[in-house]
C-alpha cells in the first residue's frame, strides 16, 4: 500500500455521517413498520459498518489481497447464517409450543 494518508477532514466527515445514521436508526425504531423495523435497523447498521471499514480501516486504499480477506469474512458469516436459518426456519415444529422452557429448566 504505497502509503495513502487519509486527511483528517475525511475522518471527521465519516464521523459526522455515522452520527447522523445513529440518529436515523433511533428515530426509525420508534415508528411501527412491522417486519421492516429489523430490515431498516440492519440496513443502517451495515451502512455504518461499511463506512468504518472503507475509511477508518482504510479498506478503500488497501490492496486487493485485503479486499479478498474482508469478502471472505462476510461470505463465511453469510454461509453460517443462511444455512443454519434455512434449517431451523423451515422445520415443521414450534419450539416455544412444544418444549416449554420451564420444563427444560426443570423448575
Amino acid at each position: 500500500m504505497s502509503e495513502h494518508i487519509v486527511p483528517p477532514k475525511v475522518y471527521v466527515g465519516i464521523f459526522l455521517s455515522l452520527m447522523v445514521l445513529t440518529a436515523a436508526t433511533v428515530a426509525a425504531a420508534y415508528v411501527n413498520l412491522g417486519p421492516f423495523n429489523i430490515v431498516i435497523a440492519l440496513a443502517i447498521a451495515s451502512l455504518k459498518a461499511t463506512l468504518v471499514v472503507l475509511y477508518f480501516m482504510h479498506a478503500r486504499y488497501s490492496p486487493k489481497r485485503t479486499h479478498m480477506v474482508i469478502i471472505a469474512a462476510v461470505f463465511w458469516l453469510a454461509i453460517m447464517l443462511a444455512l443454519t436459518l434455512s434449517d431451523y426456519v423451515t422445520r415443521d415444529h414450534d419450539v416455544a409450543a412444544n418444549t416449554p422452557m420451564s420444563q427444560m429448566l426443570g423448575s
Binding site: 420508534y30 471499514v53 463465511w76 416449554p100 423448575s107
Partner: protein, 243 residues
C-alpha cells in the same frame, strides 16, 4: 529477533513488512467476525422462536445509556483514526494525545456499561434464581416515571397473555445480552491494554512516518470492536421500541 532500524530481518522492505502485518491483522479479524457471528446466530434463532420475550427484554434496556455509549464509541474510533493520521505525518505529540483520548473514551464506555449492568442487577434481570422480568413494574423506585411504569405493566401483561413462559424466555434474552455485551466489553478491555502500551511507545518516540504499523494495526482492531457495537446497539436496544 534480528532487526535493522525499523525493519525486521525476515522482510525485504518496510512496505512489505507493513503489508504482511495488515494481512495478518485482517485474517485475525475475519476469525473474530465468526467468533461474534456465532453469538449473533444464537440471538437470531432465539429471537425467531421467542420474539415476545425478546421484545419485553429489549425494552427494559436504557436507551439513553446505550445511545450515549454508541456516541462515545464512534467518537473513540474517530480519535483512533486521527492518531493513525498523526503518526503518518510525524506529529508525535498529537499521536500520543489522540491515543490518550481514545483510551479515555474507551474507559468511559466501560464505565457506562458498569452503570447499565448495575441497573440490571437492581431490577432482577440477571438470569438465575432471582430473575423476574416484571420486578421493576412491581417494585418501582420513587424516582421512576409513573407513566413509564404503567406502560411497562401493560406491555408485560400482553406479553404474559401471549407467552405464559415469558419469564423463562426473557432469561434467554438476558443471557445473550450479557454474553454479547460482555464479550464486546472484554474486547474493549484488551484494546485498552494495547492502547496503554501504544501510548508508552508513542511517548518514547517509536513511531515515525515510515514506521507506525502498531498504531495502524491496533487501530484496525479498535474499529472492528466499534463495528460489533454498531450491530449490537440496534439488535439489543432498538428493534422492539415501536411496541
Amino acid at each position: 529477533m534480528h532487526r535493522t532500524g525499523e525493519l525486521y530481518g525476515q522482510f525485504e522492505t518496510l512496505e512489505q513488512q507493513k503489508e504482511s502485518a495488515a494481512l495478518g491483522m485482517w485474517v485475525f479479524l475475519s476469525t473474530e467476525v465468526l467468533f461474534f457471528g456465532g453469538l449473533f446466530m444464537t440471538y437470531t434463532l432465539n429471537r425467531h422462536y421467542y420474539g415476545t420475550a425478546f421484545g419485553v427484554g429489549s425494552n427494559t434496556l436504557d436507551l439513553k445509556l446505550g445511545g450515549l455509549n454508541t456516541i462515545i464509541l464512534i467518537l473513540s474510533s474517530l480519535t483512533m483514526a486521527m492518531s493513525v493520521w498523526a503518526s503518518h505525518v510525524g506529529k508525535r505529540k498529537a499521536t500520543t494525545s489522540f491515543l490518550v483520548a481514545t483510551l479515555v473514551l474507551g474507559t468511559a464506555f466501560l464505565g457506562v456499561k458498569v452503570i447499565e449492568y448495575k441497573q440490571k442487577f437492581d431490577h432482577h434481570l440477571v438470569p438465575g434464581y432471582h430473575f423476574q422480568i416484571d420486578y421493576r413494574a412491581q417494585h418501582p423506585a420513587p424516582n421512576d416515571d409513573p407513566k413509564e411504569i404503567e406502560a411497562e405493566k401493560e406491555e408485560l401483561s400482553k406479553a404474559f397473555a401471549k407467552d405464559p413462559d415469558v419469564n423463562a424466555h426473557a432469561q434467554l434474552y438476558f443471557s445473550l445480552y450479557f454474553g454479547m455485551t460482555g464479550l464486546h466489553a472484554l474486547h474493549m478491555i484488551v484494546g485498552a491494554g494495547m492502547l496503554v502500551w501504544l501510548i508508552r511507545q508513542s511517548m518514547l518516540g517509536r513511531f515515525t512516518p515510515t514506521y507506525n504499523t502498531p498504531v495502524e494495526m491496533i487501530g484496525l482492531y479498535w474499529h472492528f470492536v466499534d463495528i460489533v457495537w454498531i450491530y449490537l446497539f440496534p439488535l439489543l436496544y432498538l428493534i422492539d421500541r415501536h411496541r
